[in-house]
Symmetry: C2
């Protein structure tokens, strides 16, 4: 890493000021989004007394994504002149979050969703007032189409993870965990593009430098782990086939990489098998009584498999990212378990 | 009703002192059980801004029943001499709650469970340290067998609902709802034997005399509604066949009747169809993101069907009683919806 050659005292000073800058932004994000998002509770559970659960399934729109979306959109709205509208590519939780944030800020939102996406998610995005463009959009051409449509219509991109305002918004979830239980010694969060994980890392290290932060991703989508280990962003050849449909991005973002790897604010990234995800999801429903989506079960999967955190770290906070599951998946897993 | 002929001022005075006595008992129950039960949060939801959800699925053992069980058992333990042990008939949430409370108080617990009960619930009760007796126990002979075994072994009965300590313990759930949101104008709770509903009624009327309290039961188990309307305890000919397996009792208890009907502290009791229960359960999973059991969906079913409360009452508290569902039932409902 680039700063490996610097004297330790200098690296530390720099880290302190780096964290201080982000701390101010995260505190501002928390104030900014408070009227629009829900302060989800921190739950304990009979399953394991070490666990502290942050159920973002109860968040507005059913996922943590509104935290970042509101933080980004409310700031865009204050620009002079304000943007014509916002645009994003997403078939998932970011689409609904951005649609709601834009509607709240009286901005138009255009969401590009690949043609083969789940019709229920398309309908949910439209019902929040966004325009949805699907014609000719595929997973492969979506980034290119995005640039074209942005230019045509003069819309402002709200990236789902590689954006500091998004990262600072997502950080408020872990910040609340640590407000509610300052003793939490380790936090586990899912990682796809790294927006939630890099925000979690900033919030945790601001709270206490030795709070462990561990990212969890599917084995089939191990680009974040490989990026973490190699010190360079690694990209998957194609969108991974995993039950955890919230983390199908092919690479983490540049800003997320800075926080997670270059600044070493994430302590480890572990992977879980599809079977471990399925088992954790069933455990979440049966034992935690939380109707989670598969992606939200990633931290529980790593915990139950004994992959993270070390046994001495307690209590352990799990960021359970959302509850927008496909009901056919629940029916299949509960029916066969 | 007996006090109908009394002057209004006298009836009111009596009600005030009646509520005052119960208020002290409920406050004492809250203090007594606090180290052993969980303070569940009060949730808001995107589904409807009027709703305030009390998710007792997150309660210790997965249902509100530990509130009453701990309040009863901890007081029994203080008797001189303490009881030899406790006994109950139950195949459901009371069994697990009593088993845990007894183990915590270092008392033995014997639970009579009919032979055809769900093996998972039997195992859960045993795993909490209770002795389970199933040999020759049927739904029909269970009360008689209970009396016989009580006498043989010198054990003390902890009735699941017709017991003031149980009622005062269950009352703490509604008390917390009103602590967390004192503006709640109506509370809906499931009713079987009436332990939760009579406790809810006491807590609500202590808080403010005009807080509406509405019980919800399946159409197929409408004895509480008929008792409420007729002014006399009505008994079902046999245990009703309803998806809401937590309310299969055939009649409300004498003490519950006193609170609910004689003292007029419940404002109404409404019934819901099996289809309405099924729809509400699916809505709880999909929209509330709560993995509820069917009985816990009763208040939501009444609310969604527009049966209670009146439109002007807002906010509306729903006591969602537990999350110990049969996974085959949920798999079927989510698979076919």
């Amino acid at each position: 890493m680039a700063d490996g050659a610097r004297p330790a005292y200098l690296a530390e000073t720099q880290e302190a000021s780096y964290l201080q800058l982000h701390a101010e932004e995260i505190a501002a994000a928390a104030r900014r989004i408070a009227p629009h998002v829900r302060r989800t509770p921190l739950l304990t559970t009979d399953l394991d007394p070490r666990l502290r659960l942050k159920p973002e399934c109860f968040q507005v729109t059913g996922s943590f994504k509104v935290r970042g979306a509101f933080n980004a959109v409310l700031q865009l709205k204050e620009r002079t002149p304000p943007p014509r509208g916002v645009i994003a590519v997403s078939s998932g939780n970011h689409a609904q979050a951005l649609a709601l944030a834009a509607r709240t800020a009286s901005l138009t939102a255009l969401i590009l969703i690949p043609e083969d996406a789940n019709p229920a998610k398309v309908a949910a995005t439209r019902s929040l007032g966004a325009e949805v463009l699907q014609d000719g959009i595929t997973f492969e051409n979506r980034e290119q189409r995005l640039r074209e449509v942005m230019a045509e219509r003069g819309l402002t991109l709200v990236h789902p993870f590689d954006d500091w305002d998004i990262i600072h918004g997502q950080a408020t979830a872990a910040r609340e965990v640590l407000e509610d239980d300052p003793e939490v010694a380790a936090i586990l969060a899912p990682t796809g593009g790294g927006g939630l994980l890099s925000g979690t890392a900033l919030a945790a290290k601001i709270h206490r430098r030795d709070t462990l932060v561990i990212g969890v991703e599917p084995e089939r989508a191990d680009d974040a782990q490989r990026s973490f280990r190699s010190g360079a962003i690694q990209t998957l050849p194609s969108s991974p086939q995993t039950l955890a449909d919230g983390v199908r991005t092919t690479a983490i973002g540049r800003r997320n990489f800075e926080v997670m790897v270059e600044r070493r604010l994430v302590d480890d990234i572990v992977t879980v098998s599809e079977e471990e995800i399925e088992r954790a999801l069933v455990t979440a429903w049966l034992k935690l009584k939380l109707a989670l989506e598969p992606t939200a079960a990633l931290p529980l999967a790593a915990y139950l498999a004994g992959k993270a955190p070390p046994a001495e770290a307690s209590p352990v906070g799990l960021i359970l990212s959302g509850g927008n599951f496909d009901q056919a998946v629940v029916a299949r897993l509960l029916g066969s378990a």
